[in-house]
Amino acid sequence: MDFLRPASWEEALAAKAEHPTAVPLSGGTDVMVEINFDHRRPEYLLDLNRIELLREWEVGEENVRLGAAVPYTQIMENLRTELPGLALASHTVASPQIRNRGGVGGNLGTASPAGDAHPALLAAGAEVEVESVRGNRFIPIDEFYTGVKRNALQPDELIKTVHIKKADGPQQYSKVGTRNAMVIAVCAFGLALHPETRTVRTGIGSAAPTPIRAKEAEAFLNAALEEGGFWDNGKIITPSIAKQFADLCSGAANPIDDVRGTAKYRRHAVGIMARRQLGWTWEQYRGTGRTLEGAA
């Protein structure tokens, strides 16, 4: 095993180009577990800790440019207004110690369906900026996840920045686990209202081979909200609409039975989370005086 310690982004890209099998190491919260338990012996570890730009973020007009290694703690504490869904998701990540090290880049790189950030990114809308010595490109989040623990990265590419749409409406995020803290998702759900475009977006985690959106449910809700004039009249969403939305979210899931939960439960829980989040976000949208920040 070789330990590569690039001092700059350019050096990192060069190292990755030279050693495409090198495993990027940032917070270590996935990679080091695999090394400690002898599940993985990469030829090269590519340490990204020295690269400042990966730990920086910038709030722009439309997007937040989030460095791949910005720790979840920072997101939770500093980006609650701009990225409420991701801030809530960050708060559910493991423990304070893990949140101090792990970042969204790690979730994306590992691309586990159970990664906590994915549903929030899918719901908010995001692009992943990846780069190699050949140049950079932007991968829409919807095209990023390509299979179980697989993503759209080329072997010589590194994740640099995640460009996430600033919230233009309420966002929520929940995850189900069998413990009240420090738990891997049995399943997770994120919802974002986008009043500017009068659309909603969803994200489902750990209930399909990859993180997914419940597109049919989104389409249904978009239509129902439009039809009922809800965006304008701000009325309470009728139970039948909420139920239909929840059922469609549930139906979008394609989960498996595993040691953490049954497929049946996952489908069920996605529906419950979808219904509750629709209630929470819509109440926020109706302007009951609450901020756009998550309630947690």
């Binding site: 040691v259 049946k264 439960y265 489908r267 309630a295 947690a296």
Partner: protein, 799 residues
């Protein structure tokens, strides 16, 4: 047997001495190892380090049941940095070990019987070298069908997990795949059932729980010049280890010198051997010190677990709620090796009735050999599984009778004088009804605490916690009660003793005492209590606790809630003898100075010899003057009897302990997530020698019971008998956000048979906590929940 069980009833002169010496019994004296533990200097077994040491690594079986066709170590042996690669062929002497049954191979030979069984060993200069070498060992298995439950174990053509059994139970068991069977018949349950107005039956499943102590199995073996080995390990019972280790090394016991290293929790999981023999063999083979440390994955295979169980119960009652009869069958899965399965069977059987008066019972408990992970001791030891089931039955019965569940329990509660199904009379206080009254009388925790903040819901106070799954939707509160009975100490005629060596001398003009025992300090605070007892008995301020080792007689196991009773009793007894000797010296020297030397009851207090009237006769410094008094004595509790193998009759237990819980839970009924809001406990502790430790033990035991109620289970694939969740990622134990406030009330009703009246305290709270939480969840959801842990699937109909 030494006749020294005469006790000093609580409140007589021994209590007075605490006014003279700080840190005597009854005070919340602080731990003597506290500073070392908060500064990181306390040396746990995994912290051991030696110049030039090697690292030991075990290669474990990847299948649960298979013949070993071949093992090829060639490639591993030639690796740089590898000092030894061993298989069963290299074992120096006895190939098997075990506490009760010598059925466990040091390294598998012939076949492997469970997933994760040790097959080969490596010693290398770095853990990674050792891991790489272990990975190069080639093992060819021919897989066999797996035995995983009662049906597959006792099928007519079942493969025998152990061929040719020749142990103390093999003669009477109905099938060689049954480790032990213990029936108990008293009265006539079938006849009594006719008097019942109401009968309830139930089938219950208790999942496999892991001790999940935080300090992994580990230690250091250092080869000695005399051909022996010095072993620094974390264990619950040094002398039991020694008895098993020496024959496997082919060494006399005196050449295996064991010293207790710091123990990072135990809870039963260190009563059996883990790495002790393996590290020693590597050290003797290589001539170098060898350190072994299991990682968390390996730890799940490195120790026995709590027996999973299936329990069938029938209870009857008259319409006014009097229990008429009970029938039950309890099947405990012992896994591939017996460990303490037979004793767990005896416990489950003899305590299956719970803390209730039932004259007519028909009880059967069996322990199986299967290819599941071996199970043995864990806090509560057979009584936990039974309590979960009989308490569920009590709630069922109360519901059917339309009675308050606490009243039903109180109406049938055992008390002093009650006869157990084994025929044993409960001859010391048994305040079962009172304990229930206490927890019931506690004020209820406030409702909807998540709103307390005033603004948005505080998810930390809600089911799901930080995961933000509810802001109050679907949340229903439930309250449940349970009470349990646990035996204290080793039962069924076991010759259970402890040894204490006490030395008293004068150093720099001050009388000091040294307490030397082999008691395993596993975190429970025995070291604190021991010093308190010595201070109280000898009237000296300064007490040194000698490290536990095998240079003193056995202290028995730190388990079964027995150490304060047993080693505490041994220390008290040895101190009494020391006191007599000191007084004898005093009489010889100064007897002529004052008539009180001959006439009065003399005590040692504040470093002086005083009369019971408080007159000082001499200082200990004057009495001892450069002379040391040293006593090493064994001490026994009153003898017990084996249970009759047909009727189960016999005075099998030393002492009984009782605890009751009230659980208040809030359940997100839509998502099936549970938040325990409060888990109040009331327990009779006999005498609280250290109130701070007593409460700590009760809260800790309560939390382990909570864990098994809602999250803890080792999941074994029934098709392959392989463990599916050997990690802290998937075997979850409660975090601080899962654990509620645990208010504790304790009674001090002295047991006249026990030293100071103490009652073993560590285990009872683990019993009733689980069924109380289950009862509360049932109350919140209206569901019949017959399995631990309660998974969200069970609460949402999505299994």
């Amino acid at each position: 047997m030494a006749q020294n069980t005469r006790t000093v009833p609580v409140g007589t002169p021994t209590d007075v001495t605490q006014n003279h010496v700080k840190g005597g019994i009854g005070e919340s004296t602080l731990r003597p190892d506290g500073t070392l533990k908060v500064t990181g200097e306390f040396a746990y077994s995994s912290d051991m380090w030696h110049e030039d040491m090697l690292w030991g690594q075990i290669l474990r079986s990847t299948v649960a049941h298979a013949e070993i066709v071949s093992i090829d170590t060639t490639e591993a042996l030639v690796m740089d940095g590898v000092y030894a690669v061993l298989t069963h062929e290299d074992l120096p002497a006895a190939k098997n070990y075990g506490m009760e049954f010598q059925d466990t191979p040091v390294l598998a030979y012939g076949k492997v019987r469970h997933h994760g069984e040790p097959v080969a060993l490596v010693a290398a200069d770095h853990p990674e070298t050792a891991r790489r070498a272990a990975a190069k060992i080639k093992i060819e298995y021919r897989e066999l069908p797996v035995i995983t439950d009662e049906a597959s174990a006792t099928a007519p053509d079942a493969i025998l997990v152990h061929e040719g059994r020749d142990d103390h139970h093999s003669g009477h068991v109905p099938h060689p795949n049954i480790v032990h069977r213990q029936p108990i018949i008293r009265g006539n349950a079938t006849e009594a059932a006719k008097r019942a107005d109401v009968i309830v039956t139930g089938e219950y499943t208790f999942g496999m729980q892991d001790q999940a102590f935080l300090g992994p199995e580990s230690g250091l073996a250092v080869p000695a010049e005399d051909g022996g080995v010095d072993l620094y390990v974390a264990t619950q019972w040094l002398h039991s280890d020694l008895k098993q280790i020496a024959p496997c090394l082919g060494l006399p016991e005196e050449k295996v010198r064991m010293t207790m290293a710091g123990v990072g929790g135990a809870f039963g999981g260190r009563e059996d051997i883990s790495m002790q023999i393996l590290a020693s063999i590597l050290a003797l083979r290589t001539g170098k010190p060898v350190k072994m440390v299991y990682n968390r994955y390996e730890s799940f295979f490195g120790h026995v677990h709590r027996h999973p169980a299936k329990l069938w119960y029938e209870h009857g009652a008259t319409k006014d709620g009097k229990l008429t009869h009970m029938k039950c069958k309890i099947v405990l899965d012992g896994g591939a090796y017996a460990s303490s399965t037979a004793s767990v069977v005896g416990n489950a059987s003899s305590l299956s009735v719970g803390p209730y008066v039932i004259e007519d019972v028909e009880i059967e408990a069996i322990g199986l050999y299967t290819n599941n992970p071996p199970c043995g001791a864990m806090r509560g030891f057979g009584a936990v599984q039974a309590c979960f089931a009989y308490e569920a039955q009590m709630d069922k019965l109360a519901a059917k009778l339309g009675m308050d569940p606490v009243e039903l329990r109180q109406l049938n509660a055992m008390e002093q004088g009650t006869i157990m199904p084994t025929g044993q009379v409960v001859d010391s206080p048994a305040p079962v009804a009172e304990l229930l009254r206490i927890v019931k009388a506690r004020p209820m925790p406030p409702e909807q605490q998540w709103l307390a903040a005033g603004e948005a819901a505080d998810v930390r106070a809600l089911p799901g916690g930080l995961s933000n799954t509810t802001h109050g939707e679907g949340v229903v509160r439930g309250v449940g009660y349970a009470v349990g009975i646990k035996n204290v100490g080793f039962s069924e005629g076991f010759d259970d003793y402890s040894t204490a060596k006490i030395r008293m001398e004068v150093i720099n003009g001050e009388a000091v005492a040294t307490v030397h025992t082999a008691m395993a300090e596993v975190g429970q605070g025995g070291v604190t209590i021991h010093a308190q007892i010595a201070r109280t008995e000898l009237g000296v301020q300064q007490v040194t606790i000698h490290p536990a080792d095998t240079q003193v007689g056995s202290a028995g196991s730190t388990s079964a809630g027995r150490q304060t009773y047993m080693t505490g009793g041994a220390i008290k007894n040895s101190c009494r003898i020391v006191r007599e000797k000191v007084l004898e010296i005093g009489r010889r020297k100064f007897g002529s100075y004052h008539p009180a030397w001959a006439n009065a009851e003399l005590l040692l207090e504040g470093g002086k010899v005083v009369t019971d009237g408080g007159d000082v006769l001499a200082t200990l410094a004057d009495v001892l003057e450069g002379q040391a008094v040293e006593v090493e004595e064994e001490w026994r509790h009153r003898p017990t009897q084996a249970f009759d193998l047909v009727t189960g009759q016999g005075d099998g237990h030393v002492q009984y302990a009782f605890a009751a819980h009230r659980a208040v839970v809030e359940v997100d009924t839509e998502l099936g997530l549970v938040k325990v809001i409060e888990l109040a406990c009331a327990q009779d502790v006999g005498k609280a020698l250290n109130p701070l430790s007593v409460v700590g033990q009760i809260q800790g035991g309560t939390t382990q019971g909570l864990g098994v109620a809602v999250m803890e289970e080792i999941i074994v694939d029934p098709k392959t008998a392989k463990v599916r969740n050997p990690s802290f990622t998937d075997y979850l134990i409660p975090t601080i956000l899962d654990t509620p406030t645990i208010p504790v009330d304790y009674l001090e009703l002295a047991d006249p048979n026990a030293p100071y009246g103490v009652r073993g305290i560590g285990e009872a709270p683990t019993l009733s906590s689980t069924p109380a939480v289950l009862a509360a969840i049932r109350a919140a959801t209206g569901l019949e929940l017959n399995k631990t842990p309660v998974r969200p699937e069970a609460l949402t109909g999505t299994l």
